[in-house]
């Protein structure tokens, strides 16, 4: 054990002396700290803005003047998705989804205004979040620091000296690995600090950090394994850069494009057109004489034992609006669920195959843990839809109960009737406060387990390969 630490501290001394290690370490530190600060500030101010806008939207709605309740249905309401605690480290799909939805009657709008809309286009690595710098760049820096750890001894012939003095090749490899582990642990510090500052719950924060620690561990072992198996530093570097490009850059993108080709999702416009055709039989809720509502009218007339809709104690137009909205929402929800399911199918296609790359596993697991994945976005869409349906139907209820049918039908031509259809703003208090939360921590932690397992498997495999490579250490040198 002492020998292992001795070799490790020797490696550390080498890094300190050669400017390479110092430069790589410094670069990693600057990079992660910069992206941490930038993302944290941005996400924090986003959170404040969105929470403030949410309150403002609620107040604006409740402060509207007296008007026809159906006008409030179209005036609509906004809901905002505030970023989760860990979004400061991994904003996930947040920059791609849009984070505000306009809620109105008869429509399910999609989230609008993703930051991509007017952002400067800076290429494929433009969104360098703390998460991405740990996923992509820290491994690259570890490669630059670690590719020559074992090969250097081999090229200088010092491994033979060590072995003859009683140090086993496995110990040499272990020492180098411990040294690189030390470097990785040091690089992890800014992330630990960021996680603590993010105010995430203890369990989630630990799960998140464990994920990244295991990921970096898998890279440390991949690097020392490649170094142990390579005859020369240059071939170790060639192998490692190829592995890095394959695992971190090519594989995830191949998986994404394979998911899109194999499981294409319908475009929004095409879905909208299907919805329109499906809705042709539902009837237009603005038009109480639409034949679709004949049955409804007949039932009501019978129930209240009257001859004409004018004699009903309630406003028939409000009833129609309510019935139409309910039917329409069923259809809209069916298509929305279908759309979400097809996206989830793509994601689970990627999730199944991504065991091929620890990078891809980490990427999805990190988003999921942070509550910034598509699943959480879908949760937001569903909650927003519940709010939408609730306030629209509450307004339709007001429309039904607080207004005479005769005023309602004459309001376009009779100014007095129009005035009477303007309902007291007291009624706008029906709107409920909206506060969005990601899935509970326990649920996310349970989902995290398989990913931790896969990355541990990578750690195990890379470790075994490195250990096997170490045993060849001296033989290759002799050959």
């Amino acid at each position: 054990m002492n020998t292992v630490l001795l070799i490790a501290s020797d490696e550390w001394r080498y890094w300190r002396r050669s400017k390479l290690g110092a430069a790589a370490g410094l670069l990693a530190l600057i990079l992660t700290c910069a992206s941490l600060l930038a993302t944290m500030n941005q996400v924090r101010s986003e959170r404040e803005t969105r929470v403030a806008l949410q309150h403002e939207a609620e107040h604006t709605f409740r402060d509207q003047p007296a008007r026809h309740p159906h006008r409030m249905v179209h005036y609509g309401h906004y809901v905002f998705r505030p970023p989760t605690a860990l979004a400061v480290l991994d904003p996930g799909v947040d920059p791609y989804t849009g984070t505000v939805i306009f809620l109105e009657g008869h429509r399910q709008n999609s989230a609008t205004f993703s930051p991509a809309y007017s952002g400067a286009q800076a290429g494929p690595f433009a969104l360098l979040t703390p998460a991405l710098s740990y996923q992509l760049l820290v491994p690259l820096l570890l490669i630059i620091m670690g590719f020559s750890t074992v090969t250097r001894e081999r090229e200088a012939g010092t491994d033979r000296q060590l072995v003859t003095s009683g140090v086993s090749p496995t110990t040499i490899w272990l020492g180098k690995t411990v040294a690189l582990f030390g470097a990785a642990a040091l690089m992890l510090l800014p992330l630990i600090l960021g996680t603590v500052l993010s105010n995430a719950g203890g369990a989630i924060a630990s799960g998140f950090l464990l994920l990244y620690a295991l990921y970096l561990a898998s890279w440390v072992l991949i690097i020392t394994a490649a170094s142990a198996w390579s005859p020369r530093a240059s071939s170790a570097l060639l192998a490692l850069i190829t592995i890095w490009v394959t695992l971190c850059i090519v594989t995830p993108r191949l998986l994404a494009s394979a998911a899109m080709t194999n499981l294409p999702t319908a475009s929004q416009i095409e879905t909208d057109m299907e919805v329109i055709v499906a809705l042709r039989n539902v009837g237009d809720g603005h038009n109480a004489s639409d034949p679709a509502f004949n049955q409804l009218r007949a039932n009501l007339l019978e129930q209240y034992d009257v001859e004409r809709v004018e004699d009903l104690p309630i406003n028939f137009r409000g009833i129609v609006a309510q019935a139409a909205e309910a039917k329409l929402t069923d259809v809209l929800n069916e298509f929305a669920e279908r759309r979400m399911a097809s996206q989830m199918a793509q994601s689970s296609f990627v999730n199944t195959l991504e065991i091929l790359s620890p990078f891809a596993v980490l990427q999805s697991a990190s988003m999921m843990t942070a509550g910034t994945d598509n699943q959480t976005h879908h949760r937001f869409l569903r909650e927003a839809e519940a709010i939408r349906f609730q306030f629209v139907q509450d307004l339709n209820q007001v429309h039904t109960e607080k207004m005479a049918y005769s005023d309602d039908i004459n309001r376009s031509s009779d100014s007095d009737a129009e005035r009477r259809t303007r309902i007291d703003p007291e009624n706008w208090r029906i709107l409920k406060d909206f506060e969005f939360h990601a899935a509970p921590a326990t649920q996310r932690l349970a989902q995290l387990a398989p990913s931790l397992l896969v990355i541990s498997l990578w750690v195990l495999i890379a470790g075994s390969i490195g250990w096997l490579g170490a045993r060849r250490l001296v033989e290759v040198n002799r050959a």
Binding site: L137, L237, L238, E270
Partner: protein
Amino acid sequence: MHSAIRELRFAITDKVVVMALAITAILAIYTISTGLTESASERALIERVKALVTEDREFTLAKQGDAGSAAYNAYHLTYQAPHALSFISRGVRDDLPWKHRIRMLALESQIYETDTGNPELSRIGKLDFDFVAAFLLPLLSILLLYDLRAAEIRNNRWDFLSATSGNGLRLLTARAAVRSVLLYLGIILPFAIAASLNGVSLTSIQVAMSAVALNVFIWFLLALFVTYKTESGPTAAALLLGVWFTTAVAIPVLGKLVIEDNIDLPKGGEILLAQRETVNAAWDLPKEDTMTPFIKQYPEWANEATVDQPFAWKWYFAFHQVGDQTVAPLSQELSQGTRQRDEAMNLVSLASPSLRTSRVLSRLAETDIASFQRYNQCVRQFHAQLREFHYPMLFGRIEYSKEQMQQLPTFVPCEAST
């Protein structure tokens, strides 16, 4: 010439070179074929949706009895068809809208609708030809070139070679040049073939080929310089990777931060909110408050602008137009700012060969910001055309009739200015 042939023989017998070339060619062919498939499916989608929207418009219009309901219910598809070269770069086409279903209501509430796919897949990023040619190619260059001199030094041949060939640098140059040319051919031949088969103009092909050639040449020079200055392969590789990281990642990211910090834009949400408030407030305001600003913009309707009923379609569409007019300054600010940010990014790209190459390719593919803005302009023109068609019927100068509705304008995609 003689040395070039010898170097070529060396290169094609070197396992690393052959492997790198194979990877390059496979990636090029793969990205080009997925790009072509994507363009084809976009064209098919446009045709399909166009038919659906047309069928639905005719179905709906057949039931409308007045000019207002007809204008309110008639939806139109606007779109930007993929360019012949769009297979080389996705650009902003996955993030920004290139198709809309619009009607005569306030355009500002419709034009920002973005029809994006699975955000988790968008986040992973695209593997398109542009990505390979601009961002991966330098990495392949580094792998092929970083060890050329160090390997000779390691095998104690460098001094010998320098002595026999007279000049070590010349030999190094020839060797690096041969490998760079092979790498270039590996990526550009699949492109040239695909482009000429798809009827792309010769000029565009030439520009794309030169852009990629320049990228390869820059990395050839960088590698030559770095390897000549350093003795050890790993150090050369680390330095070159550092340059790649700085130019491909750090400079664009920093540039983006600085640009977005300095060129402020109105938030998209502000436009939507302002637009919604104006349009909704109009219901409670005296009719003149809507008609006066409308007439200011469209004086030709001054004589028909009186509204004496609580509701009239001409007033309804007027307040939608006034809603657009009210937020027009914001909306112009947004598009001007986006353009300024893009121009600033263009300057930044001078310091990043990868970003530069990528920008040239997406400009040729018409998937860049400028072409997105041209499409937006095209939608605005069509919306104006629609309003000009419906106003005479809404203001009662022309009688509404099914025959008159036959003249309803249909969307024609705008030709690119380039």
